[in-house]
Amino acid sequence: MRNLAILVGLFVVLGALPVFIQSDVWLNSLIMILFVALLGQAWNILAGYGGQFSFGHAAFFGTGAYGVAVLQVQLGLSPWIGLVVGVAAAGLVAAFIGAVSFRYGLRGSYFALVTLAFAEVLRILSNSVPFTGAGVGILIPLEPGLAHLQFTSKAGYYWLIWAMALAAFLAAWWLNNSRFGARLMAVRDNEDAARALGVSAFRIKLGGIVLSGCFSGLAGVFYAQYYLYLDPGIAYGPAISVESLLVPIVGGIGTLFGPLLGAVTLHILSEITRDIFGDAPGISLAIYGAVLIVIVLFLPRGLAGLGRISARRLLSRRSA
């Protein structure tokens, strides 16, 4: 309950920010932070709470993005319908990948490789079929207005991603306080013990990947509406998959606030490296890699774990 209060309070503050911040540059930064936090929380739901490490969340992200884009461009449907269809399609892709992998008991690196393979297959498919615009990509026509889920001001997009991220964070909170979440974490910590207590590990993991895939798809919908352009490399490329897992790993895997913490940290880090090194290609990626190694070595529970350690030390020092 305390976590829920903190979460709601935090999002109320975040939601009020555009009233005080008019700078597009700052708003863009905040949008990117919330977008990346959403991606990270989506991955965290499956990996952090469910223990299934995916290396191919782009499969869900890209499906959501193409869902909303293709429906608008090829069929002339409203992006609101596209949002629903895109998220549902991402959920279906997740259900399929989950059903195939979990039915055959794939775990650990095997599961990671299978998800990566599916994302790559989808990238190649979207590169070769005509209705996605193939390699040229797909351009959503500019038609600002709430009905078209496009906004002339950054604040509009900010509130859109704010609402989406809020939904994902509430879902993660729910996992901490529900039967489904308890079972998901039980399967993560010990699958046999969970099954012995009547938990259908297969169904629970399937539920986890679908929930996770839907939120990744939601991030894809946002991306498509924000940039109004997609190509197979953006939608299904490994960059999104890596971003999805980097954020919660840095912030704190399996924690409610970890993805937000990771998103803020990585954003600040990439801004700093850009300031120092300019746009020299590869530098920011190299620094990302170095940060990841340092975190895995010294902070296996991410920055959220750092907070926990120091809080515990403080408490023990006070009591001593």
């Binding site: 306080n177 529900s178 039967r179 308890a182 079972r183 974490m185 039980a186 910590d189 010990n190 046999d192 013990a193 969970a194 099954r195 012995a196 207590l197 009547g198 938990v199 259908s200 590990a201």
Partner: protein, 248 residues
């Protein structure tokens, strides 16, 4: 009979772990399964609870044929096992661990947590609810195994060596807990090496050796059975034990 296994067999590659084993458990009893190390006791538990698929034989529980069903289905029917090598959800609190079991029949988080607390008190973990399960002592972890299973509100519970590794005073503490579980109407089947526990708790005993049931009866009868003495102490020992008893 609440549980009966008949002619159950299982082999792993060339090793016949369980051979044509049959056992019957009457409701409301404490039945024990004993036998030397490697006799196939845990494998038999795994066959009964769906963790392994038997090569032959049938298992019926509470009137239903459950041969080959998944462990989670069997748990839902009311038969749960504990693990010899304790399997806590490490990193979660004792309360959360037990709540996973309680969730089987309680969808709400609050009811499950309340049930977890109640069960923890029954097995003597009431004062350690907020501890990390991984930081419990061996005795504590064994109790946690029992608590998780108990929280599913089973009809029958299979306890796999819940007293192994405990010191005599800890064993003395656990025995009344197990008796209280039975008195609450839950049938118990236990695998145990601690003979003190077997003798004082169980009303009926099966002896497994090299995958086969070699004897059954009351614990007193079984421990006098020459086949059982030979299984534990070696060939020819039954005669020597009998002679030793006669000389004394």
């Amino acid at each position: 009979m609440i549980l009966s296994a008949s002619g159950v067999s299982k082999s792993f590659g060339g090793l016949q772990a369980v051979r044509d084993a049959s056992l019957d458990v009457e409701p409301g009893r404490i039945v024990s399964l004993i036998g030397p190390n490697g006799a196939g006791k845990t494998t038999l538990f795994a066959l009964i609870t769906g963790f392994h698929l038997p090569d032959a034989g049938t298992v019926t529980f509470d009137g239903a044929d459950i041969t080959g069903r998944a462990p989670e289905e069997i748990a839902r029917l009311g038969m749960v096992r504990t693990f010899q090598i304790v399997q806590p959800f490490a990193g979660q609190t004792v309360r959360d661990n037990i709540a996973v079991g309680a969730h089987l029949h309680h969808a709400g988080r609050r009811e499950a947590l309340a049930k977890a607390e109640e069960v923890a008190t029954r097995v003597g973990l009431g004062d350690r609810l907020d501890m990390d399960a991984a930081s419990l002592t061996v005795a504590g972890r064994k109790r946690l195994e029992v608590a998780k299973a108990l929280a599913t509100e089973p009809k029958l519970i299979l306890l796999d060596e819940v007293m192994a590794g405990l010191n005599p005073s800890e064993v003395r503490d656990v025995i009344p807990i197990i008796r209280a579980i039975r008195d609450s109407g839950i049938t118990i089947v236990l695998i145990e090496h601690v003979m003190q526990a077997v003798m004082s708790l169980s009303e009926f005993t099966y002896v497994l050796n090299q995958g086969q049931i070699i004897a059954s009866g009351s614990p007193e009868e079984v421990t006098r059975d020459p086949a059982v003495i030979e299984a534990y102490l070696g060939h020819g020992m039954a005669e020597q034990v009998a002679k030793g008893a006669a000389d004394a």
